[in-house]
């Protein structure tokens, strides 16, 4: 099982992802954004950071990096793709995932642990049962997810809403539980097929119990189990 972790100019979480993979006993290697070959990789991760300085819009320039053509083809063939934070932003810009990102409500960069509820979804990167609550950090300025109502209805029907911000007990606050103002408290979404998954929280930072916690492990393990069973 080999993970390819794409490095764009301005990515800064690629080492965390590679270390998380190694901690879980998985092979992981960096893929430079100018490369156009993903052969030999079983899964692709677009890590967090500030690709191209977030100029124009977050992810807008990275989406046209040479490697992205191959990432899109990889995803279309059913290959598992995970976008974390800036990676999620890039996936929405590339139209591999629905919706778009706005500045956080309140204009604050937010760095804190948040509670997330696992929704019933088709996402191949999720192994936890629906209703589970995990605690994972967010670290972003543009995580205010937005999507039009028609698309959201469609996403709910197809099981594409994967994670929602919630209160520690798993409930949704009446005024919303998303610290960034994300529409319908959405923290993570997947495509119809479930192989492409984007989320604002950083599961790679919750893998080693000595460093932080283990709530992020299941996302990596789920896709590994799924790939092994195919």
């Amino acid at each position: 099982m080999r993970f390819g972790v794409v490095v764009f100019p301005g990515s800064n979480c690629e080492q965390d992802v590679v270390k998380a993979c190694h901690y879980l006993g998985l092979q992981a290697d960096y893929v430079w954004h100018a490369d156009t070959d993903l052969s030999g990789f079983d899964a692709v991760v677009l890590p967090g950071g500030f690709s191209y300085g977030d100029y124009i819009r977050t992810g807008a320039v990275a989406r046209f990096s040479p490697v992205m053509g191959e990432v899109i083809r990889f995803a279309e063939r059913g290959g598992p793709v995970l976008g974390i934070c800036n990676g999620f932003q890039i996936l929405t810009e590339a139209h591999l995932l629905p919706g778009a990102m706005l500045r956080n409500r309140g204009l604050k960069f937010i760095c804190s642990d948040v509670s997330l509820k696992v929704e019933r979804s088709v996402c191949q990167w999720v192994g936890l049962p629906a209703g589970s609550v995990v605690r994972i950090p967010i670290n972003h300025n543009e995580g205010n997810y937005t999507v039009d109502m028609g698309t959201l209805m469609r996403m709910v029907c197809y099981g594409q809403v994967v994670l929602r911000y919630c209160e520690p007990d798993g409930s949704q606050a009446p005024e919303g539980s998303a610290p960034n103002g994300a529409f319908d408290d959405i923290a993570g979404v997947c495509n119809e097929r479930g192989n492409v998954f984007g989320l604002m929280p950083h599961p790679e930072r919750m893998v080693d119990p000595e460093a932080s916690g283990t709530d992020g492990q299941s996302f990596f393990q789920a896709i590994v189990e799924r790939l092994a069973s195919v």
Partner: protein, 85 residues
Amino acid sequence: MASYEVFVTYKKGIFDPPGVTAERALSNLGYDEVASVKIGKYIRLVVEDREGGLDRVKEMCDKLLANPVIEDYRIVEVEEGTVAP
């Protein structure tokens, strides 16, 4: 050469956090006549004269300069040599 000004703004109904913040700040400063503030982007392009020049600028907007999911844009062709405001 041809010059184009591109104004990128959020679509109707899309929450504009910087706009809302400016709106509140102006109200706090006593400008209670302000009903709404929208903040967008201003982009100026100078391009070689070419057949279908405006269509290509539209294409640039759809592909990169604006995100059609959340933003609208308006292109204005301006006199060459006009100083950007």
